[in-house]
């Protein structure tokens, strides 16, 4: 590609750090900002700078937040005896929107995956052990994804919790609302069948 000067090249290169953005898209974004929307570019630059300066991980649950403790962890009305352990920050938002859960969270930021080099330390297990040791938590709810790696992670954490005598529960597996049995995959169906409830 013909160069238009170091600043433009640098900006194009910088846009490429975004997921799914290749050289062509980066070039399109750069030209759009410089030619058509300099105000937008200014706002983007400021918002990005501000976010990078202010936002950090919550010291307790590891979700992204502007303060030392996130709004949920610092809310005294929430039940500190329950801890819901999830893989991603987006899972916290999904659970908050869908349920009436009023306990606290812990975000692992992934699952155990040797091939990706993700071990207990990357998942904040030492921090989780410290939380268990505080003795306030009575129940942990394992809400890792129902994949093989998610299950392995859940199993590992449940063993840690049981050694501290903390009651451990796991999200149920089942058929989605409005689903049709015929189209549900066999794994889900067999889980749902073995975990049936009396009504």
């Amino acid at each position: 590609m013909a160069s238009l000067g170091p600043s433009i090249d640098q900006l194009i290169e910088a846009f490429r750090c975004l997921p799914g953005v290749g050289p062509k898209s980066a070039q399109r974004m750069t030209f759009h900002l410089l030619e058509r929307n300099r105000d937008g570019g200014d706002r983007l630059a400021q918002a990005l700078q501000q976010a990078l300066n202010k936002i950090q991980h919550c010291q307790r649950c590891r979700i992204l937040t502007e303060t030392e403790l996130c709004p949920r962890c610092s809310d005294p009305s929430r039940n500190a005896e329950q801890l819901c352990i999830v893989e991603l920050p987006s899972d916290v938002i999904a659970i908050e929107q869908a349920t009436h859960y009023k306990g606290l969270y812990f975000v692992l930021s992934g699952h155990l995956s040797p091939l990706d080099g993700i071990g207990p330390e990357a998942l904040g297990i030492p921090q989780l052990i410290d939380l268990f040791a505080e003795g306030k938590i009575k129940e942990i709810i394992l809400a890792t994804n129902p994949t093989v790696e998610g299950e392995a992670t859940a199993h590992y954490i449940s063993q840690l919790a049981q050694s501290k005598n903390i009651h451990t529960t796991r999200l149920a597996h089942g058929i989605p609302l409005g689903g049709e049995l015929e189209y549900v995959d066999s794994g889900t169906l067999s889980h749902a069948f073995s975990g049936r409830e009396s009504i």
Binding site: L115, V148, H155, S186
Partner: protein, 239 residues
């Protein structure tokens, strides 16, 4: 190349773009292959529920180069349910395959069956260590690095139950001498590994260290992540 419904397992998957997946698969007739499964994360037919580790699959794909495109997938029997420690052992097997198998088209039906049997055995979760050691042996055989265990390489003498030996990767079995850094193994343990039966705690431990030396040698010094993971997990469980 257009493949229709070939038996395969997924070794590793990672997200790709918005809702696609990159799969590392191990297929019966074509060895290890990388596939992209487009739109699989939000598939209405529940495909992502099927694209899981340890699930016997029938996969169809097309493509010429290193990365092919998945076109269809079906279950080829129920999933092997590996729980607790077995799940981690399964991840170890997968890492071995990903690290050792090149992405080329080769018929791998024998190793494929070994893998399937290993998963089946891990499912019932007894003697996990034996399952792992035997799979390591089969894998080395398959790769052409088969261990010569029944005689000394220098003298050609058959092994003796009472003697101690060491295994020099790429060369063979030697009589053990004081002051060597390589792990030693008794003739008795070697016989267990040859017969694939009769294992006990001592022989398993000796075989483990020999296998580890050989595998590390062929990996060129890069440590296996799942082995480190085992270590870290035990370390935290002990706290």
């Amino acid at each position: 190349m257009n493949i229709k419904l070939c038996p395969a397992f997924i070794l590793h998957q990672r997200p790709y773009r918005e809702n696609s997946l990159l799969l590392d698969i191990f297929s019966e007739q074509f060895g290890r292959i990388s596939l992209v499964a487009k739109g699989s994360k939000q598939n209405k037919r529940g495909q992502s529920g099927l694209l899981q580790l340890y699930q016997p699959l029938l996969l169809s794909w097309y493509g010429q180069k290193e990365l092919c495109t998945l076109t269809a997938c079906e279950a080829d029997g129920p999933r092997f349910i590996l729980k607790a420690e077995s799940a981690l052992c399964g991840l170890y097997l997968n890492e071995l395959l990903v690290r050792f198998l090149p992405i080329t088209e080769i018929d791998s039906s024998r190793l494929f069956n070994n893998y399937k049997q290993a998963l089946d055995a891990l499912q019932s979760a007894n003697h996990n260590e034996i399952i792992l050691r035997l799979f390591e042996k089969y894998l080395l055989n398959y790769l052409g690095y088969a261990l010569v265990l029944d005689h000394e390489v220098e003298t050609g003498q058959l092994i003796d139950d009472q003697q101690r030996y060491y295994y020099q990767p790429d060369s063979g079995l030697y009589r053990w001498r004081q002051g060597l850094s390589l792990p030693s193994i008794s003739g008795r343990s070697l016989q267990h590994l040859i017969d694939e039966q009769g294992f006990d705690k001592t022989s398993l431990n000796e075989i483990k260290h020999v296998m580890r030396t050989v595998i590390n040698f062929y990996l060129g010094g890069k440590e296996l992540q799942s082995r480190q993971l085992f270590g870290q997990l035990q370390q935290y469980s002990a706290k």
